[in-house]
């Protein structure tokens, strides 16, 4: 399996696709940094957290870096996974690989692992670049807690990306045509990213509770909530609060443990979603017939 991971990684890092994705990500970090540059002076620093505001501050017209990441991570996941299996079939390399003395699952495991490693490297690079430039810009070093919060945020990015990659790999196992498999993944992404939260949920939900439950079926919502709790320590709950309740809340940040406690369900659900996607593709792939024609 290590051989396959190595080859896939080599493929990813020499491919034009990865180059373009890296450019996109760099562009997003630049935009996010600019947003922080514009907005960070207006930030309330009474919470004691300065550094992580780099990631969550919006500019006058530019959204914050976390918003960019929320949009780009699914795209990267899909771009890395949509042709994982079906390309091997369409180029005729699958039967050649499978006739070598390896277990069949090491093909799909290797591809998934290589994709996650690529994604993790990309996102780690982004966060580090932004941190570095940001540090230079604001001159306030991150506290230990901020570093931990950022790291957990990084982990949740990778899990979120793994879900989208798992979904894309699932489509690549089921659908033989490259273009259709890409479109199918993108359709799911559009559905959850836009239609689901903006149109369907508000239309269907009768109560606030139901609204929240429905929203949380979407991986995007889960990721947004995880981001918020980790990077905005002053947020104390996820979801809607009555204005009466808000007035009783002391406006100070939550300790790390409490923030973690808030997002724990979100994180585990995302892990579960990613695992389900991967498991289904695994099973389908293992049972797929290598047909003569």
């Amino acid at each position: 399996m290590i051989t396959i991971v190595r080859k896939e990684l080599a493929d990813y890092f020499t491919s034009v696709r990865c180059f373009i994705l890296f450019l996109l990500v760099l562009l997003a970090s630049a935009a996010g940094l600019y947003a922080a540059y514009e907005g960070i002076r207006g930030v309330d620093i009474s919470t004691g957290f300065v550094f992580i505001n780099l990631f969550t501050t919006r500019g006058e017209s530019i959204p914050s870096l976390v918003t960019f990441i929320g949009i780009f991570v699914p795209i990267i996941g899909i771009a890395l996974g949509f042709d994982a299996i079906n390309r091997e079939y369409s180029t005729g390399t699958m039967s050649r690989i499978l006739s070598q003395p390896i277990y069949r699952d090491s093909v799909i495991n290797g591809k998934f692992l290589a994709g996650i490693i690529t994604l993790a490297i990309m996102m780690a690079t982004t966060l580090l670049i932004v941190s570095g430039f940001g540090l230079r810009m604001i001159g306030v070093p991150p506290s230990a807690e901020e570093i931990i919060r950022l790291f957990i945020y990084f982990v949740s990015i990778v899990i979120f990306g793994a879900f989208w990659m798992g979904l894309a790999i699932l489509f690549s196992v089921i659908i033989r045509n490259l273009a259709i498999s890409l479109l199918a993944s993108l359709a799911v992404w559009l559905f959850f990213g836009f239609f689901y939260t903006m149109l369907i949920v508000p239309a269907v939900a009768k109560t606030v509770d139901m609204y929240l439950v429905l929203l949380r079926l979407s991986p995007n919502t889960l990721f947004d909530e995880a981001t918020m709790a980790m990077l905005l320590p002053q947020s104390r709950g996820l979801g809607l609060l009555a204005s009466g309740e808000v007035s009783y809340m002391i406006p100070n940040p939550l300790p790390l443990g409490q923030s973690l406690l808030i997002v724990w369900p979100q994180l585990t659900t995302m892990i579960a979603l990613a695992a389900v996607c991967f498991a289904v593709s695994y099973i389908v792939f293992m049972r797929q017939e290598i047909r003569a024609t």
């Binding site: 051989t3 396959i4 080859k7 493929d11 020499t14 491919s15 180029t91 005729g92 390399t93 699958m94 039967s95 050649r96 690989i97 499978l98 006739s99 070598q100 003395p101 390896i102 277990y103 017939e289 290598i290 047909r291 003569a292 024609t293």
Partner: protein, 311 residues
């Protein structure tokens, strides 16, 4: 003919959506021979191969390669067997050498061993010059040759080649066929599928013909040829300066000769065994000038046609 059987199938059967594609197939391939698997398109050749390699599960029956069950011990089978698929594909972005190295690594070969082996097989298929060119730039024929290299790089004891000469020019075909002919001497048994009968006739020792998933005939090529054309007998063609009735009579009396037909200066002799020497001697002893004696060749075409007329 007590050769070791390296590949054996027992009532191997495969069904797709209710259609029986391979039907109770019993094949036997002896060690160090070139075995030809023939049959029209859709006869189940490729499906059979996929089952042999354990890539597809048979509905019933079993296949054994070097004594290992293909379905239950596919890794052992696949480490001994090289497979050249009909639709051959490589990673276009990688060079020939990189493609082969990937396969060598999947076979747990060490770096030094792999490099040495890769150089050797590239040399054998004549691709040394383009070893470091991306495969995407290769012509169809070069890819096909790389495919053969790809099979040989793992030093298989059995090579299964599905249409090894497809898409090659005549010179390329000759090279590949020569290469395949040399394999048994290096300890590799070959099973090949092909539609080109003359190729099969040139290099195969034994053949099996499949039709609609069933085995039509299996056996050594020369035996099959005699059976197809002369009911299992030999046919010898004798050309003399003067084929007099006397001569016909004398030849007819040689032990083992079944019949003699005259056609101009030609005598068609049907015999039980190879009697060319005895016939020539008889002709010369009778003072008749002998122009030529030859065994009639059986073309695989004839065999093929015969069985498909019957079938």
């Amino acid at each position: 003919m007590d050769k070791k059987i390296v590949l054996e199938t027992q009532d191997l059967t495969k069904r797709y959506d209710g259609n029986t594609v391979v039907d109770h197939l019993n094949l036997h391939v002896a060690e160090n021979e070139v075995f030809g698997l023939l049959g029209p398109n859709g006869a189940g050749k490729t499906t059979t191969i996929l089952m042999l390699l354990g890539l597809t599960e048979p509905a019933s029956g079993s296949a054994r390669i070097f004594g290992f069950n293909s379905t239950r011990e596919p890794l052992k089978v696949k480490s001994l067997t090289g497979y050249l698929p009909e639709r051959l594909g490589f990673y276009d972005g990688l060079t020939a050498r990189q493609n082969l190295r990937f396969i060598a690594r999947l076979n747990n070969m060490g770096n030094d061993e792999a490099n040495q082996q890769i150089d050797q097989v590239l040399e054998a298929v004549g691709l040394t010059k383009v070893a470091d060119t991306a495969v995407g730039k290769f012509s169809r024929g070069m890819k096909q040759r790389l495919g053969i290299a790809d099979v040989l790089v793992k030093e298989p004891r059995l090579a299964i080649l599905d249409e090894p000469t497809a898409g090659l020019d005549p010179e390329g075909i000759n090279q590949i066929l020569d290469l395949i002919t040399g394999l048994p001497k290096m300890g590799t048994t070959v099973v090949m599928c092909s539609h080109r009968l003359y190729e099969v006739q040139r290099i195969c020792h034994s053949i099996a013909i499949l039709a609609a998933g069933k085995l039509v005939v299996e056996g050594a090529l020369d035996t099959l040829g005699r059976e197809a054309l002369a009911g299992g007998r030999y046919r010898i063609e004798v050309e003399t300066a003067d084929s007099s009735p006397q001569l016909v009579e004398i030849i007819g009396k040689i032990k083992g000769v079944k019949s003699v037909e005259v056609e101009g200066n030609f005598l068609h002799v049907t015999t039980d065994s190879d009697l060319r020497a005895a016939i020539s001697k008889a002709v010369v002893d009778n003072g008749v000038a002998l122009t030529q004696v030859k065994m009639q060749e059986f073309s695989l075409d004839d065999i093929y046609k015969k069985y498909f007329k019957e079938g």
